[in-house]
């Protein structure tokens, strides 16, 4: 009876990694969309959709490989997606809007040591994505991708051996399409639940690990642990109902 516990564990740990990862991502929301706050100008759900789904696709592309490769695939996919989003966002802020990437939450960028406050337009909370936010976003993407990959791996490993899902094993790749798609949509669901819980915790916007709101991380992680654990318990039904 070890297998169900392993699945609950994978989903719980994966959920916490996703929820924690969201705290690192510079989510700017509507103020950032008009360049009056630091971060990417959209909400957490959109960034989670972009980063999370890319991570799951890259993780799922490695189905059948060892666990570390799947996790690395998820981390790299999510990080690249968020990195491109932040880079192109910065291009628009710098050459389109015409403002300097700067944070109003800190005096000096902890990575480049550049002074920030001089470049913040009065009346705004910074603009663009300064280096520290970019690095933080890459870390957040990697954590989220690892979490999503872990959940996908846990579900696929256990579903693909069930009789109900063996019928759809592809002759070419040896991958059970049914198990892969059920695992993927379940992982996407868990991704969104944890991303939005984390988003509630940060009140919609955050700059990254240097933001004072980052101190709320333990509270968000606790909420994600409980929610993911409950989801893991529900996922056990999938294993028991796999004979049809």
């Amino acid at each position: 009876m070890m297998d169900p516990l392993l699945l609950i564990g994978a989903i719980t740990v994966g959920g916490v990694l996703i929820g924690g990862g969201v705290h690192f991502i510079p989510v700017g929301g509507a103020p950032a969309a008009i360049a009056t706050a630091t971060g990417v100008g959209t909400g957490t759900a959109m960034l989670a959709a972009g980063g999370g789904m890319t991570g799951l696709i890259t993780a799922a592309a490695l189905t059948g490989q060892p666990l570390w490769l799947i996790l690395a695939g998820g981390a790299v996919g999510s990080s690249i997606m968020l990195g491109i989003t932040m880079l192109v966002g910065n291009l628009v802020y710098v050459w389109g809007v015409g403002c300097v990437p700067a944070s109003a939450k800190i005096e000096y960028d902890p990575i480049t040591k550049y002074e920030q406050s001089k470049f913040v337009t009065p009346g705004t909370e910074g603009h663009g994505i300064p280096t520290v936010c970019f690095v933080s976003g890459i870390i957040g993407g990697a954590l989220g991708g690892i979490g999503g990959g872990l959940i996908y791996w846990g579900l696929y490993q256990q579903l693909s051996v069930l009789p109900g899902y063996q019928a759809s094993i592809s002759a070419v790749s040896g991958v059970s399409i049914g198990a892969a798609t059920v695992a993927a949509i379940f992982a996407v669901g868990i991704f969104f639940v944890n991303a939005v819980i984390a988003s509630y915790n940060i009140g919609g916007t955050i700059e990254g690990f240097h933001d004072p709101k980052f101190k709320r991380l333990p509270r968000g992680a606790l909420a994600c642990i409980v929610a993911s654990f409950a989801t893991g318990l529900i996922a056990i039904l999938l294993l028991n109902g796999g004979v049809f």
Partner: protein
Amino acid sequence: MSDEGISHTRILALGVVGGLIGIYLTPYNPILGPLLASLGAVCAIVWGADAIRSLASYGLGTGVPSIGYMSLAIGIIGVVAGLAAGVYIGMPILGPIIGFILAMILGGIVAFLGRRVIGMKIPILLSGTVQLAGASALSVLGFSAALAGNYTMAPILASVISTGFIALLFIMNTMAIQHPFNACLGPNEDQVRTLKLAATTAFMSMAIIGVIGVGFTKAWWIIAIIGAIGWFISMRAFLDAALDSAASVKWSGLWPKEDEQ
């Protein structure tokens, strides 16, 4: 936000009863069954749009779409697990009900965490999230049953999940449920007008389900046609309502007094 024109209880009843009846009648007729299932999903989407309207009018701090995505995620987790549970206990007929209940339980857990652990100050967070999760689950089940022709695990796995349409349902139903309030919120928001837009997005989704169901169900053309007719009628009703509400502003050139919320 103005007062309710239609009571929430009636919309809740429409969503739950309409949704479940539509889903459970699916296997009895190859043409009418899928049509009723997709109409059931339309009822569920209208219910969800009303629930998100009550909930998001408190100001979530994260925007309306985020809770829409979350509730659809919860709904899909509940539905897939519920259908599997129906297989597990040997009574597939109970699958949709179990999925509906599981989604509402998970929604309740998330809302409880939001209140107690994260400390969100929204009084109706629990009832709103539970309703939204239930509506999302029924909307996914309804469209899935329409595509698969049945509400049990094996046909839904074969024609909705393995084909990837479940991801389409995820995003499309999120949009159908969250867009009405997200588009209408603000001064002079009116429940009836928002629900007219909800009917528009719901029927539009139904028409899309009809079109993508071309290879899966014999009823695809009737779902697409009824969906398109409903879309046209509700869009006209919504446009009329929007122009009516805008008339006083347009004629006088002044914003209405009750703007400040």
